[in-house]
Point group: C2
Chain length 211, copies 2
DNA sequence: AGGTGTGAACACTTTCACAGCA
DNA sequence: TGCTGTGAAAGTGTTCACACCT
C-alpha cells in the first residue's frame, strides 16, 4: 500500500466495521453504501470511495456482504490479529482503560502496567504486577509489546516517550496534554479531553448567532 | 463570526493557548509564529493563518505578546467564562473525568452527576449527590447546565441524548461508541479509545514496508 | 533586519455523475 | 433496475511568497 490514506478515512473504516458487526448480529446479510452512509452520517459516495482505496468489495446492483466486508475491513485495519499493549500510568485514566472491555474484544490485550509511584509498583492489577516505569524497555522486550498507552501527567510524558522509543515502540496512544516530538516512524495519537471540551466551548460561544 | 472555522484550526488554537500559558510561566514576554509552530509541530504560516481568521494580534517585526495573545485566544475559544457540566454515567470513565483537575482549571465545573443504576443513585461524589439519569431535564434546568458529558454504555447513549436534547442542551461530549443522530444546532464530539487504537493498529500494519 | 498578515498556488478530500456489471 | 467503482469537478485546508509595518 503506497498511497497515503487520510486519517478521516481510517476513522470511517472503524465506524463501518462497528455498523457491520451490529448489522451482522441483527441478521442482516447485505448492506448498500447508502445504508452504511446513513448510519454514520456521511454520503454513499464517501463510503464507496473509502472502500475503493483498498479494493473492490461489493457486487453491483446488490451491495456488500456484511460478513465479507467486515472481514475485509478487519484485515485492512490490522484487526485480524491481537495486539500487545503496555499501560504506563496506573492512575484513574489508566484504570478506566484497563477495565474497558471493548479493548479486549477488539483485539487489544494489556500485557503490562507500569507506574513511577513506588507506592503503586508491586501491586496487583488483575493478573499483572505493576512495574516501575523505568523498566519500560525491559518490559517491552519481555512481553513483545506492540503499543504503549501513555496515561501519565504531562510533565512525565516526554521522559516515558524517550524510554518507549529506546525500546523500539512504534505506536503510542497519548493521554497527556503535551505534543510529543518523536521520530518519523513512530505513530502517536493524542486523546485530550480538555481540548474536546474547548472545542465545545468554541461551538457554544459562536453558534448562537448562526442562521 | 460568519465564516466556517475548521476543526483542526480550533484544535490548534487550544494548543497555542497551552504553549502560551507555559511560556508565560517561564517568563517569556513575546513569541513569534515560528516559535509557536515549532512547539506544536506545524508551520509558521499555519499559525499566522489560524490567528488571522480571528483578527490581528501580532506586531510586525516583533511577534505576539504572550499574555495578550493568550487572552485573545481564551476569548475566541469562549474560555473567558466558566462552563457548567453535567456528567451522565458514574462509571470508571466518569470518575476519571470527574477527578481530572485540568478540566476545572480550564473553566469546566461539574455541577451534576447522574447514573441509571439505582445502586449508585443517591451516593455522594465529593460535594454532589448522584441523581437518576431520567431526571436529566430537571437537573439541566436546576443547574443551568451548558455541556453534557456522556459516559454511559453504547446501548444507553441514544436515550440519554434524547433527554439532553429535550432539555435544550447544545453541546455533548460523547464517550459511548455510537454515532448520535442529533439536530442541526447540537454539537457532539466523540471520544473513542477503541477507534484510536484501531488507527494505531492500521499504522502498524501498513507502516512496516515504508521507505 | 525581523516577523506579521494575506492573496494566490498547491495539495488533499469530498461530492458528483455516470459507465458498467449483476 | 439497482448499486458499485471511479474519473472529473468542486470544495477545503495548507503552504508559499511577498508587501508592509516596527
Amino acid at each position: 500500500l503506497s498511497r497515503k490514506i487520510s486519517d478521516s478515512a481510517i476513522r470511517r473504516l472503524s465506524f463501518y466495521l462497528r455498523i457491520l458487526e451490529q448489522s451482522g448480529d441483527e441478521g442482516v446479510r447485505t448492506v448498500s453504501s447508502r445504508d452504511l452512509a446513513k448510519r454514520i452520517g456521511t454520503t454513499a459516495a464517501q463510503v464507496r470511495k473509502d472502500l475503493s482505496l483498498f479494493g473492490s468489495f461489493g457486487k453491483r446492483g446488490l451491495g456488500y456482504s456484511v460478513t465479507k466486508l467486515a472481514e475485509s475491513i478487519r484485515a485492512i485495519l490490522g484487526l485480524d490479529r491481537r495486539w500487545r499493549v503496555a499501560l504506563v500510568g496506573a492512575g484513574r485514566i489508566g484504570a478506566a482503560l484497563f477495565d474497558h472491555e471493548g479493548l479486549r474484544i477488539r483485539g487489544f490485550d494489556f500485557v503490562a502496567v507500569l507506574d513511577a509511584d513506588p507506592e503503586k509498583v508491586g501491586r496487583r492489577w488483575r493478573n499483572l504486577k505493576v512495574r516501575d516505569t523505568s523498566e519500560l524497555p525491559e518490559v517491552v522486550r519481555e512481553h513483545a509489546v506492540d503499543i504503549v498507552i501513555l496515561a501519565v501527567p504531562a510533565y512525565a510524558a516526554a521522559g516515558v516517550m524517550d524510554l518507549a522509543e529506546e525500546a523500539g515502540i512504534r505506536a503510542v496512544l497519548n493521554f497527556a496534554p503535551t505534543t510529543l516530538r518523536v521520530s518519523e516512524d513512530v505513530t502517536v495519537r493524542d486523546v485530550n479531553m480538555v481540548m474536546e471540551l474547548e472545542a465545545l466551548s468554541f461551538a457554544l460561544s459562536h453558534g448562537e448567532d448562526r442562521e
